[in-house]
Amino acid sequence: MASFQWPWQYEFPPFFTLQPNLETKKKQVAAWCDLVLAYHKHHKIFNLDVKESQSSPLFNNTKIDRKLSTDAIYSILEELRVKGNIEWTDKTRAQCLVMWRTPEEWGNLIYRWASGCGMTNTVCTLYELAHGDDTKREEFFGLDDWLLKRALRTLEKQRKAEIMSFGTSEGVKFF
């Protein structure tokens, strides 16, 4: 895996101070949102623990000795929540799910692949879908189970797929 490319803002000390000027803050928060999603996408991580994140390189640049305050982190996560990219797992807002692509976007990607390979009207297990040889090069390779299912459910709503279970494993049929 190639190393993650930090954006120019990451080396810019003011990036780590929540700006009071509204216009400036807008740009800053937008840049942070992009960075958070890009980081999670690169490392294929689908969740975030706020406490742990404070010391992760994402919010903490030891090279310039700057890190985001908890308040700033929550501001950014709230913006992501509004955009639909994160979801809190509980009321205390200690952890959240990270969807650098929304379930709909994932659903479309998967369906495009499925119809492109002629997988329609056949069944494949969820495991094959996310971890099989055929999908190694796909972006959705390695997708967490919960997100995979959400994605497939959006396809179900469009009648493009149907989730089925066989004993202990689950599968999906594309139409």
């Binding site: 803002q9 000390p13 400036t24």
Partner: protein, 357 residues
């Protein structure tokens, strides 16, 4: 002994007798006095010593002067005693048997027993103290209750204001069947309640005609004094000056603030500025201000980053003024801040002017 007063045997209004004991001698400190073989009477207000023989000879001591009472260990052949430690005599104390005493305590010796009675005196004092405490508590409760009523009134007032706001909004949306006349009348009621014209979007932004006129007036009156005091004046000073000048029809603080908020919209040469600390000032909008911001931004680009201290050094202005310029630049979008344990520092606003790769 100089705390005692001559008495006349009459009880004070509301005074009641608590205890009496015969055979008591008064001592000034530990020294015997002539007041021997007397009757000591404890009342709700005083300690009264009456001569057993000459009932007209009577001295009294207000209980308020008694600090505390204690038993004196009895010596051989001596009668049991109780000492009363006393507060200093009040300055306008009525005349008594002794003008000046070296002691701030007296002793009572009991030839016929009753030495345990002073405990009753002590209890009497405690009882009085308790009464006083109760009075204070009652007063306190009364005041709290009165404030509760005030709180209830304020709550009702808030409901009234909310109600009139709702109606004002309805008028704005022209809902309901209200005629033109009624609308005008209602608006005037609202104004008298202190709610500005509901047709304008927010009292904050656009304000009433009154505030606009007031703003123009203020600008005429204040521009020169503010110039003379260095281009900036605290709002409290402005308030005082304006009202002193007006004499009658004084301005309320709220009206002053609302009028000042109109300066920018009316393109008047003054500005209301609120610092983070909450301090409000009126300052001149000098044509130079924009130039200074531009100058600061250029310096920032050149030096890549500046702290208030660094800017003050390179331009020869005070640190406070330097910080003000950096903050002004930030407000204008020409700078952004970096807060750390080392303090505050400013950079060119790369967020709005990203570096070209």
């Amino acid at each position: 002994m100089d705390r005692f007063e001559w008495g006349n045997g009459n009880l004070l209004q509301g005074e009641t007798q608590v205890k009496q004991q015969h055979g008591v001698r008064l001592h000034d400190g530990t020294d015997k006095t002539a007041f021997d073989r007397g009757i000591i009477t404890l009342t709700s207000h005083r300690l009264i010593w009456t001569d057993s023989v000459q009932q007209t000879t009577l001295v009294t001591l207000p209980l308020s002067l008694v600090l505390y009472a204690e038993e004196v260990p009895a010596g051989r052949g001596k009668s049991p005693r109780v000492a009363f430690h006393l507060h200093p005599a009040p300055p306008n104390k009525p005349p008594g048997p002794v003008m000046m005493s070296a002691h701030s305590y007296i002793q009572l010796s009991f030839k016929e027993g009753g030495e345990t009675e002073p405990k009753a005196i002590h209890a009497g004092i405690v009882g009085i103290e308790r009464n006083l405490e109760k009075k204070w508590r009652d007063t306190d409760e009364n005041i709290s209750q009165a404030f509760e009523d005030l709180n209830k009134l304020m709550k009702k007032a808030k409901e009234m204001v909310d109600l009139s706001r709702t109606i004002a909004n309805k008028i704005k949306d022209k809902q309901g069947s209200i005629t033109e006349d009624e609308t005008v009348q209602f608006k005037s009621y609202l104004l008298s309640l202190g709610i500005a014209n509901p047709v304008t979007r927010e009292t904050h932004g656009t304000g009433t005609k009154y505030h606009e006129e007031l703003a123009k007036q203020l600008s005429d009156v204040l521009t020169k004094p503010i110039e003379e005091s260095g281009g900036m004046m605290a709002l409290s000073d402005v308030y005082c000056r304006i009202n002193r000048a007006r004499g009658m029809e004084l301005l309320s603080p709220d009206d002053l603030v609302d009028a000042c908020r109109q300066f920018e919209a009316l393109r008047l040469p003054l500005r209301l500025r609120v610092f983070n600390s909450g301090v409000m000032v009126i300052e001149l909008v000098s044509k130079g201000e924009e130039a200074i911001i531009r100058q600061t931004a250029e310096l920032l680009n050149e030096k890549k980053t500046l702290s208030p201290d660094e800017l003050s050094q390179s331009t020869g202005i005070s640190i406070l003024l330097a910080k003000g310029r950096l903050l002004a630049a930030e407000e204008a979008g020409q700078a952004c801040r970096d807060e750390s344990v080392e303090g505050i520092r400013f950079f060119p606003n790369l967020f709005l002017n990203p570096p070209t790769r």
